[in-house]
C-alpha cells in the first residue's frame, strides 16, 4: 500500500516535471514562427495547405539568409479543429515555444477562441481568411477579406453588369454568413431592392441534402426577374449544393451563384462540370497573369512536389502577411511584439495580383477585388476587377450596431472599436 502510494506519486511527479521541463528557452540563433492550423478534424481539408504554404515561405526566407541574420524556425502544432484546443495551442506556442509571431486559424470561432490569449500575452496573429469583420484587435492582423472587400463588390457586379433583380442569400448557419447576409440585405435595400425580392436561407454545417432548397431557389427564380444566389455556404456543403443545382437543370446563365468560400482548392476536389459559369469573388485567383504570381505558383508546385497543385486566396493572404511581418521585423530591427505591431502599420508589400497591399491602421489590408467565373478545369475566368485597391473595413457601415465604430491602432487613439458618436473606446482597451 505504502509502496503503491509512493509509486503513483513518483509517476505523477515525473509527469509534471516533463510538462514543466519541456518549456525550454528558444535557442538564440533562430527566430521561431508559430503555425496554428488544423491538421486533423473537419478543418484539415482547408488548413493543411496553409501550413504547407507557411513552411514554404519560411524555407524561402531562410534561403535568402533568414531574418536579422538568424534562421527562421517553424513550429507546427495541430489544434485538430477543436476550438478550445486552439486556445490551448496558442498559449503553448507563445508561452512555451516563445514564437515571435503566429500565422493561423481559419474559422471565426477558432479566431475568437485564441483572441483572448493573444491579447493577454500581447503576441501577434496573422489571420489569412475572409471573415465577417466586426472585429479589430491590437494583436491580430487580418490579411483576408472583410465583407466590403469581397461581398459588396460582388453584389455590385451582379447588379450592374448582370442586371440581377432578385436575390437569394444562402448560407451556412454561423457568424460569417449571418453577418455578411445582414450587411448585404441592408445594402440591397439601400439600393432599392424590395423585401420580397430577397430570400434568405440558412443550413447547418455539412448539409448534404439540398433537394428542397434548390427546388425553392428554382421556384423563386422563375418569377420572371433575373435572379442570383449569393452563397456563403461553408466548404463541405458546397459540393452537394452545386451538384443538385446542376441536376435540377439550373445553369449559370439562368441563376448564377456567386460564392465567397469556393476557391481553386475546393474546386480541385469536385467535378466542375455543373459549376461552369458560376462565380466567385476573391482578392486573388490562380489565373491572374503576372510574373510574381507565376513565380509563386512554380515555387509552390516545386515545394509540394505536385505540378497540378493549385494556389488560392488564403495562401496569397499568408504570402502577403508573411512578407509584411518580415519587412516590419527588419524595420523594427527586433522581433519584439510591441515594436513589430507598431512597424506593421503602413507597411506595403507586393501582392500576387499585380499591385501592392498595405497594412492599415485598423489592422486590415488593402486589396483588389476580383470576380471570376468557374471554368471546367477548376480555374477562374476573371470577369471583373475593381479599378483600385479596396481598404478592408473592420466595422461595417451597413450594420446599425457598428456604423459609428472605427478602428485605429495608431497613437493617440489606439483603439479597435472607438465609437465616434459617444467618443468611447470599448472592448480591448476599455478603461
Amino acid at each position: 500500500m505504502q509502496k503503491m502510494k509512493t509509486k503513483i506519486a513518483s509517476i505523477a511527479a515525473a509527469g509534471l516535471l516533463s510538462l514543466g521541463a519541456s518549456s525550454t528557452w528558444a535557442a538564440d540563433d533562430t527566430i521561431k514562427v508559430g503555425i496554428l492550423h488544423s491538421l486533423s478534424g473537419t478543418m484539415a481539408i482547408s488548413e493543411t495547405t496553409l501550413k504547407d504554404t507557411m513552411l514554404m515561405l519560411i524555407e524561402e526566407q531562410n534561403k535568402k539568409g533568414g531574418l536579422l541574420g538568424k534562421q527562421l524556425e517553424p513550429v507546427v502544432v495541430d489544434p485538430a479543429s477543436n476550438w478550445p484546443l486552439f486556445a490551448e495551442k496558442a498559449r503553448e506556442l507563445i508561452e512555451k515555444e516563445k514564437v515571435a509571431s503566429v500565422f493561423g486559424c481559419w474559422t471565426s470561432v477558432s479566431r475568437k477562441s485564441v483572441l483572448p490569449v493573444f491579447e493577454e500575452l500581447n503576441s501577434i496573429l496573422f489571420y489569412p481568411v475572409q471573415y465577417e469583420g466586426e472585429e479589430s484587435s491590437k494583436n491580430v492582423f487580418y490579411t483576408g477579406a472583410a465583407p466590403n472587400t469581397q461581398a459588396i463588390p460582388a453584389v455590385d457586379y451582379l447588379m450592374d453588369e448582370v442586371g440581377v433583380k432578385r436575390w437569394v442569400l444562402a448560407g451556412t448557419d454561423y457568424v460569417y454568413p449571418r453577418t455578411t447576409n445582414k450587411i448585404l440585405e441592408a445594402y440591397l435595400k439601400d439600393k432599392g431592392v424590395a423585401a420580397e425580392d430577397i430570400m434568405i436561407n440558412y443550413t447547418p454545417f455539412g448539409h448534404s441534402d439540398w433537394q428542397s432548397i434548390v427546388s425553392d431557389v428554382k421556384k423563386f427564380g422563375s418569377a420572371g426577374k433575373k435572379t442570383a444566389v449569393v452563397s456563403t455556404i461553408n466548404g463541405d456543403a458546397n459540393v452537394p449544393f452545386y451538384k443538385e443545382l446542376g441536376n435540377q437543370g439550373i445553369s449559370a446563365e439562368d441563376i448564377p451563384v456567386v460564392a465567397f468560400s469556393v476557391g481553386e482548392e475546393e474546386l480541385a476536389g469536385l467535378d466542375t462540370g455543373p459549376l461552369v459559369g458560376h462565380l466567385a469573388a476573391w482578392n486573388y485567383f490562380m489565373s491572374v497573369e503576372n510574373d510574381a504570381n507565376e513565380e509563386f505558383i512554380d515555387a509552390w508546385q516545386t515545394f509540394i512536389k505536385d505540378e497540378d497543385r493549385v494556389t488560392n486566396d488564403p495562401m496569397e493572404a499568408h504570402y502577403i502577411g508573411f512578407n509584411m511581418w518580415v519587412k516590419a521585423v527588419e524595420a523594427a530591427g527586433t522581433t519584439d511584439s510591441e515594436a513589430v505591431q507598431e512597424a506593421l502599420i503602413g507597411i506595403s508589400v507586393p501582392n500576387l495580383s499585380g499591385g501592392y497591399s498595405a497594412m492599415m491602421p485598423n489592422h486590415h489590408i488593402t486589396k483588389p477585388v476580383l470576380i471570376g467565373e468557374i471554368q471546367d478545369d477548376g480555374q477562374f475566368q476573371i470577369v471583373s476587377q475593381t479599378a483600385g485597391l479596396v481598404p478592408g473595413d473592420a466595422w461595417s457601415d451597413f450594420l446599425p450596431g457598428s456604423k459609428d465604430v472605427i478602428a485605429d491602432w495608431r497613437a493617440p487613439l489606439s483603439c479597435g472599436n472607438y465609437n465616434v458618436k459617444t467618443g468611447k473606446c470599448s472592448g480591448q482597451n476599455y478603461e
Partner: protein
C-alpha cells in the same frame, strides 16, 4: 471486485487517490509560486491551467464511471450535461463582460448586438447573479437528466438502445445550439470572458484558484461517488448492472435507483463543465458533439471501469497524450490515439486500473 462485503466510503484506493490528489495540487501550486520562472522546477501557469482542464475532464469521467461502471448505463450523451453546465457558467461570464464588450452595450452580449437583437431573451435573465448561475449549473443538467431518465427508465429502455438515444439527445442539442436563433451565440458560442466574481480571468492568481477549485471539486465529487457506491444504493446499482430483471423481481424499484444516480451523475458533469469553461475561455456547441461523448467513455474504459480512480487516470492520460501528440507529432497523433483505444480494449479489458491491481496483487 469485492462486491459482497460492505465497503467503507474511505477504502484503501480512495485514501491513496485523495492523498495523491492533494499532494499534487499543493505541489503544483508550490512549484508555480516558489520557484523563479527560469528554474527547472518551475511550473508555468500555462501548465497549471492545462492541469485544471484535465481535472475537469477527470470529474466528468468519474460521473460517467458512476453510472457506467457501477450501474451499467452506457451514456453516449454525457457531453451534453457537461456542455450545459458550461453554458450556464458561460452565460454568467458573458453577463459579467457588460460594457467591456466590443460594442459597449451594457446589457446585451456582443453576438446579440450584431444579430440586431434589441432585448435580452428571457432565459438570459438572472445570469448576472452568480448564485443563480451556479444553481443553473447543476439544475439544468439535473432536470434534463431527470426528465430524460424518467421517460427512459420507466419504459425500460436498456443497453444499446439507451446508448443510442442518449447519443440522439446530445446530437439534437448540438444542432439546436448551432442555430443562431437559439440565442446562445451559434457556432462561435460564448467567449472573450473577462472576470469571475470580480477576479480577472487572465490573472495568474485566478488561474491558480480555478485549478485549486477543480481539484477540490474532483475530490468532493469523488468522495460523493464513493459514498453512493459504498451505500445500499450502490450495492443495488451493482445488482442492476449484473442482473436487472432479478433485482426488480426481488422488489427493488430499479427505475428510481437508476433515475437518481443518473441525475446525480449529470449534475456532476454540469459542475465539471462549469469549472472547465473559465479555464479554457470558450464554450461552443462542438462540446455537444456525439464523438466527444464517445471519447469521454473511452477515457473511463482506458482507465478502468468501476474503480472511479481509474476514470480519473484515464481522463488525464488520454488528454495528456492529446496535448503531447498534437504538439510533437501533429501528423500522426490520430494513429497513436486510435491505436491506444484498440490496444487497451483488447489487451487491457480492465484498463490501467486493472493493470495496477494485478501488479499490486503480485507484489
Amino acid at each position: 471486485m469485492s462486491t459482497s462485503t460492505m465497503n467503507p466510503v474511505f477504502d484503501k484506493q480512495t485514501n491513496v487517490f485523495l492523498s495523491v490528489l492533494s499532494v499534487i495540487s499543493v505541489l503544483v501550486i508550490a512549484c508555480n509560486q516558489l520557484f523563479p520562472a527560469d528554474s527547472a522546477l518551475h511550473i508555468p501557469t500555462y501548465t497549471v491551467t492545462l492541469l485544471g482542464k484535465y481535472l475537469c475532464y477527470a470529474l466528468l469521467a468519474v460521473a460517467i464511471d458512476l453510472i457506467w461502471g457501477y450501474m451499467g448505463i452506457l451514456s453516449l450523451g454525457h457531453g451534453a450535461f457537461f456542455a450545459l453546465g458550461g453554458y450556464a457558467m458561460g452565460m454568467y461570464l458573458m453577463r459579467q463582460i457588460g460594457e467591456r464588450g466590443v460594442y459597449g452595450d451594457p446589457l446585451l452580449p456582443d453576438f446579440m448586438v450584431f444579430l440586431n437583437w434589441s432585448e435580452l431573451p428571457w432565459f438570459w435573465h438572472g445570469f448576472d447573479m452568480f448564485w443563480f448561475a451556479a444553481l443553473m449549473v447543476v439544475l439544468v443538467p439535473g432536470v434534463l437528466a431527470f426528465v430524460f431518465g424518467w421517460l427512459t427508465f420507466r419504459s425500460r429502455v436498456t443497453g444499446v438502445y439507451l446508448s443510442i438515444i442518449t447519443q440522439a439527445l446530445t446530437y439534437a442539442l448540438m444542432l439546436a445550439f448551432y442555430r443562431n436563433e437559439m440565442g446562445f451565440g451559434g457556432n462561435n458560442g460564448l467567449t472573450d470572458f473577462k472576470d469571475l466574481l470580480g477576479f480577472d480571468l487572465q490573472s495568474d492568481a485566478t488561474r491558480l484558484w480555478l485549478f485549486l477549485l477543480s481539484a477540490i471539486a474532483l475530490g468532493l465529487g469523488y468522495i460523493a461517488c464513493r459514498f453512493i457506491v459504498a451505500s445500499k444504493l450502490g450495492r443495488v446499482s451493482l445488482a442492476i448492472r449484473d442482473a436487472e430483471s432479478r433485482t426488480r423481481f426481488i422488489g427493488y424499484k430499479v427505475e428510481n435507483v437508476k433515475l437518481w444516480v443518473f441525475t446525480f451523475s449529470a449534475m456532476l458533469a454540469g459542475i465539471a463543465g462549469a469549472l472547465y469553461v473559465p479555464q479554457v475561455g470558450i464554450i461552443n456547441p462542438n462540446e455537444f458533439s456525439p464523438l466527444n461523448s464517445i471519447e469521454m467513455v473511452v477515457w473511463v474504459a482506458l482507465g478502468g471501469r468501476a474503480t472511479l480512480y481509474g476514470a480519473v487516470v484515464g481522463a488525464i492520460v488520454v488528454n495528456y497524450a492529446k496535448t503531447y501528440f498534437t504538439g510533437a507529432l501533429p501528423e500522426v497523433w490520430l494513429f497513436a490515439l486510435g491505436g491506444l483505444f484498440v490496444v487497451t480494449t483488447i489487451f487491457l479489458p480492465k484498463g490501467i486500473a486493472g493493470l495496477l491491481k494485478k501488479k499490486e496483487a503480485r507484489a
